[in-house]
């Protein structure tokens, strides 16, 4: 992945999480994975378009998703219901959008597509052999992995 794309995603993840959860946010070390299947249980996929093609995958376990959604809604959710899913989806949307905005300022023309959420019951996201940058984030509600795979348009 082009190095110029990295910081916008890293910063955006940190900023948005900090703002919506209002809690300590720590980032783990970045690394590369050769293929990018979501593994933790709840995944939100946001497509990228424009100068590049790719997608951002937000991967976390159910408990973390419920905890984050609860914080964002200011109420305790018992499970990942429609509201909870919409909340996590919106989180993914905001992080991706902020990164896309930053990239625009750097001169890169990205667009994003509406996000889709996949949970254990309908986890049909296929494994793709696309290398992904992993940005591990940790908040009191749990861990989440932001998984970015981008390739330049030919």
């Amino acid at each position: 992945m082009r190095v110029e794309y990295i910081n916008p995603f890293v910063e955006s993840a940190y900023n948005v999480l900090k703002e919506v959860l209002d809690c300590p946010v720590t980032r783990g070390e970045l690394y590369l994975k050769s293929a990018s299947t979501p593994v933790l249980g709840v995944a939100v996929l946001v497509g990228l378009a424009g100068d590049v093609e790719g997608r951002v995958l937000f991967d976390m376990n159910r408990a973390t998703a419920v905890a984050i959604a609860s914080t964002m809604n200011g109420e305790e959710l018992q499970k990942l219901d429609e509201l909870g899913k919409a909340t996590i989806t919106e989180l993914a949307n905001m992080i991706t959008a902020q990164a896309v905005t930053k990239l625009y300022e750097l001169g890169f023309r990205f667009d994003l597509t509406p996000p889709a959420i996949f949970t254990g019951d309908n986890m049909e996201v296929s494994t793709s052999q696309v290398e992904a940058l992993i940005v591990p984030m940790e908040v009191p509600q749990g861990k989440l992995e932001i998984n970015v795979a981008i390739r330049e348009r030919a």
Binding site: D22, A86, E90, M94, Q98, T101, P114
Partner: protein
């Protein structure tokens, strides 16, 4: 982001959502996220705005506007939505009613997007994550335009 729906208004002035005659401003909220609709709902109703309708995409947004016309005072419009995106819906609503008051609400803050929206005729552009204060300020300003 702190949600403070239900908190008493510390301001002596009347709630932002009420007109001089005491009737509430009527708002159409267009966003594909149930969460965002809930957020905007909470922020606006806490200031006595009246959410008269919601829509999940640009096409539905346009339909609802036409349906409720002329009883919509303000539209909040997301940008990234399936079927018809917010900019297209903005254009079409203004075609239908050139006095429509539309405020864009989006996680995307790209300069070209903001410019296009404002030049097309949006009254304001709010970038998510939503901040109660920011949302109310921008909406209050838009109502005066």
């Amino acid at each position: 982001m702190k949600l403070m729906g239900g908190m008493p208004n510390l301001n002596e002035k009347r709630p932002l959502g009420l007109r001089d005659d005491g009737t509430p401003y009527r708002v159409l909220v267009v966003d594909d996220s149930m969460f965002v609709i809930k957020q905007i709902n909470q922020i606006l109703t806490s200031e006595s705005f009246s959410i008269v309708a919601t829509a999940g995409d640009g096409e539905e947004g346009l339909e609802k506007y036409k349906e409720f016309f002329p009883n919509i005072d303000l539209v909040t419009m997301d940008v990234t939505m399936p079927k018809m995106d917010g900019l297209s819906a903005l254009e079409k609503i203004l075609e239908f009613d050139r006095n429509a008051r539309v405020v864009m609400v989006s996680a995307l803050g790209k300069e070209d997007l903001v410019k296009r929206a404002l030049m097309t005729g949006a009254k304001n552009y709010i970038v998510k994550p939503l901040d109660r204060k920011k949302v109310l300020e921008r909406i209050a300003t838009s109502l005066k335009l």
